[in-house]
């Protein structure tokens, strides 16, 4: 690989809007993604994250606003002129071409001679560990293998930005974890900008430098995963990234992390009843009925819980410290 670290490009969205007739899928969003960072667009289905990605890729027209890749406005450029490459959710491998020709496709379009493009495609397949499957057709590969080929096909264009549309959602849990590591490794080695669409907050937390939580065509919050997790701005973000309780109090909404709630301790206390409990190995997850909250979860260290175990239906006093309750915008 000649593409070393630092080969990534910045991506900037300025009041970017996508409307389908009267429906606004993406509503004037502003976002700056630094060169070489790993950005995850996170949100429930229909939140506009895929439309945003497809606009960046050039497969969807921009209705309004500007899209900058590097320092150029690329609103009207065709996909291949943007320096982006997209990996499709269904992988979209050409069923009539073997792995080598799939990967070499973009070089063929550029008119690279057949020997040279096949050699480069094989190198790229080696990079994703698919060298020995070079002569297979996509139908003869498993989902995970197809994905690696799709990745190689996207990377051979030497993009400054790699766009991934729900890349892990079609894989089984075991493969998903392995591919996640693999994506992280590739990101580190190639140094290009990754923009990854997902609805899984675990995936976003595990991978991203910059998590962008979207809801109803708008960005709810964008920031590093730790910042998002420790300082969610809105109730939507607190609920969507999980591990938080949203509490209505006299002075507005508050978020409290489930693992910061204490059983029988803390500055602020309230009464609750145990509704359900799950044993998770290192911890025990309790669901409680609490006045003023629809759902209330507590994560307790396993050993601590079994020092004074609780049964379902048992009353319990819970509490948390002032510092652990973050105010939320409503």
């Amino acid at each position: 690989m000649t593409t070393g670290p630092g080969a990534g490009t910045t991506v900037e969205l300025v009041k970017l809007t996508k409307a389908y007739g009267a429906t606004v899928a993406v509503n004037a969003i502003d976002l700056r993604i630094a060169a070489g960072s790993y950005c995850c667009l996170l949100g429930p289905s229909g939140c506009g994250k895929t439309s945003t990605l497809r606009m960046i890729a050039g497969h969807e027209d921009v209705s309004n606003g500007d899209l900058l890749i590097g320092d150029r406005v690329v609103n009207d450029e065709p996909p291949a002129a943007r320096g982006t490459a997209m990996m499709f959710q269904s992988y979209a491998l050409f069923p009539h071409l073997d792995c080598v020709d799939n990967v070499a496709f973009s070089l063929k379009m550029k008119g690279v001679p057949v020997e040279e493009r096949r050699r480069k495609a094989r190198e790229m397949l080696d990079l994703v560990d698919m060298g020995k499957y070079a002569a297979r057709l996509p139908a003869q590969l498993s989902g995970g293998q197809q994905q690696r080929v799709a990745l190689a096909r996207a990377l051979i264009t030497r993009p400054g930005v790699l766009l991934l549309d729900e890349p892990l959602s079609a894989l089984d849990p075991f493969l998903r974890d392995r591919m996640r590591e693999e994506l992280k490794r590739l990101h580190r080695e190639l140094g290009i900008t990754f923009i990854h669409v997902t609805h899984s907050q675990t995936e976003a937390m595990a991978l991203a430098d910059l998590v962008v939580v979207m809801n109803q065509g708008r960005i709810e919050q964008a920031g590093p995963p730790r910042e998002l997790f420790n300082h969610p701005h809105t109730a939507f973000v607190a609920r969507f990234i999980g591990g938080h309780n949203v509490i209505r109090s006299a002075d507005g909404l508050r978020a409290v992390r489930a693992d910061r709630v204490q059983l029988g301790g803390g500055d602020l206390r309230t009464d609750a009843t145990v509704r359900a409990l799950e044993y998770h190995g290192t911890s025990v997850h309790l669901s409680l009925d609490v006045a003023g909250a629809d759902e209330f979860a507590v994560i307790v260290d396993e050993a601590r819980f079994y020092d004074a175990p609780l049964a379902i239906g048992a009353p319990v006093q819970i509490g948390w410290n002032h510092a652990d309750a973050h105010p939320l915008a409503s």
């Binding site: 996909p79 291949a80 490459a85 997209m86 979209a92 496709f105 264009t157």
Partner: protein, 319 residues
């Protein structure tokens, strides 16, 4: 289960043996059980019977008859049951046969090439440039409108249009484009091929359209993402993935043209010939054995052409 049962004695109760493994030893098969088992064995054959009978009656027997008759002898008034090779010998050594085959192949080739271009273009437009399903259906139905009238009427309606004093010639003369009427328009190879294309283009459009509708739209985006321009997408992605449809359409068009006689007769004004027309003429002269021999050769040639097409393209995934 069915395979083993087929090899088992026909009636275990009579032969005194029970096929091992099928009936638990504790239950003794009564008469009802035997009958039920026999029914189960017969059922698939009964289900296949109607189609098998139809094919035997209306396909196999006629073809065998033709094959048998092709070895018979004949004179000007009779057909004589016999086994002679003269029909084939005369057919294959006559230069007229070869010329006619060449002519028929020329018609088939031209019609195939033109309907392929038209069929691919129309199907491509319908499948990839008409985005609303409603419009797709409407335009598709528009393509079928010519099929609501009979072939003969559609052919004959070309005559007043293309004739020496027809609509086209008089319009062109009136517009000052030409001085003399164009003679090649009617009763020529041109008009024959025109009619063939007119009659058969839809048989190319439909299967190609069907193939194209199965192409994942993400593949087109993936190709564009990889830098393919419009025609590169068509050439490198859509064309290869439409091959099964092209093969099916080609089989329709080629077999229809190879077997045709009425279009050639009407549109060439008797100045051109095809194998079908040759057979029709032999039948009208009551030379059934000669016609039969000709038909057998034509069948063999068409089957070879179809086999060749199927070797090039695997159409199984379309069926």
């Amino acid at each position: 289960m069915t395979v083993t049962a087929a090899h088992a004695p026909p009636d275990p109760a009579v032969s005194g043996r029970v096929p091992s493994g099928h009936v638990p030893p504790t239950t003794k098969p009564g008469g009802g059980a035997v009958r039920a088992r026999r029914w189960r064995r017969l059922a698939p054959y009964l289900q296949a019977a109607p189609l098998a009978v139809t094919l035997v009656l209306f396909l196999l027997i006629p073809i065998l008859t033709i094959l048998v008759v092709s070895f018979w002898d004949y004179d000007s008034v009779r057909v004589i049951p016999d086994f002679v090779l003269t029909n084939y010998a005369e057919l294959l050594t006559s230069p007229v046969t070869w010329k006619t085959y060449l002519n028929t192949l020329k018609f088939a080739g031209l019609t195939w090439a033109i309907t392929l271009v038209i069929g691919f273009t129309v199907a491509y437009f319908l499948a990839f440039h008409v985005h609303s399903t409603v419009w797709q259906m409407v335009l598709f139905l528009v393509c079928t409108i010519p099929f609501w009238t009979s072939n003969i009427i559609r052919m004959i309606s070309w005559i007043p249009f293309l004739g020496r004093n027809g609509l086209l010639n008089s319009t062109l003369i009136a517009a000052g484009v030409i001085d003399q009427p164009l003679e090649f328009l009617l009763f020529s190879d041109f008009s024959v091929v025109l009619a063939y294309v007119h009659l058969n283009a839809l048989f190319m459009v439909v299967p190609i359209f069907n193939s194209m509708m199965r192409i994942d739209r993400a593949l087109v985006e993936a190709a564009r993402d990889a830098g393919a321009k419009g025609w590169q997408v068509v050439w490198n992605v859509i064309l290869p993935l439409s091959k099964p449809g092209i093969a099916i359409g080609s089989i329709f068009v080629v077999t229809l043209v190879m077997g045709d006689f009425i279009t050639v007769r009407l549109m060439s004004g008797g100045q051109s010939a095809s194998i079908g027309l040759m057979i029709a003429n032999e039948i009208s002269l009551l030379q059934y054995p000669a016609a039969a021999a000709n038909a057998v050769i034509l069948l063999a040639v068409v089957l070879l052409m179809v086999a060749a097409m199927l070797r090039v393209v695997d159409i199984r995934k379309e069926l």
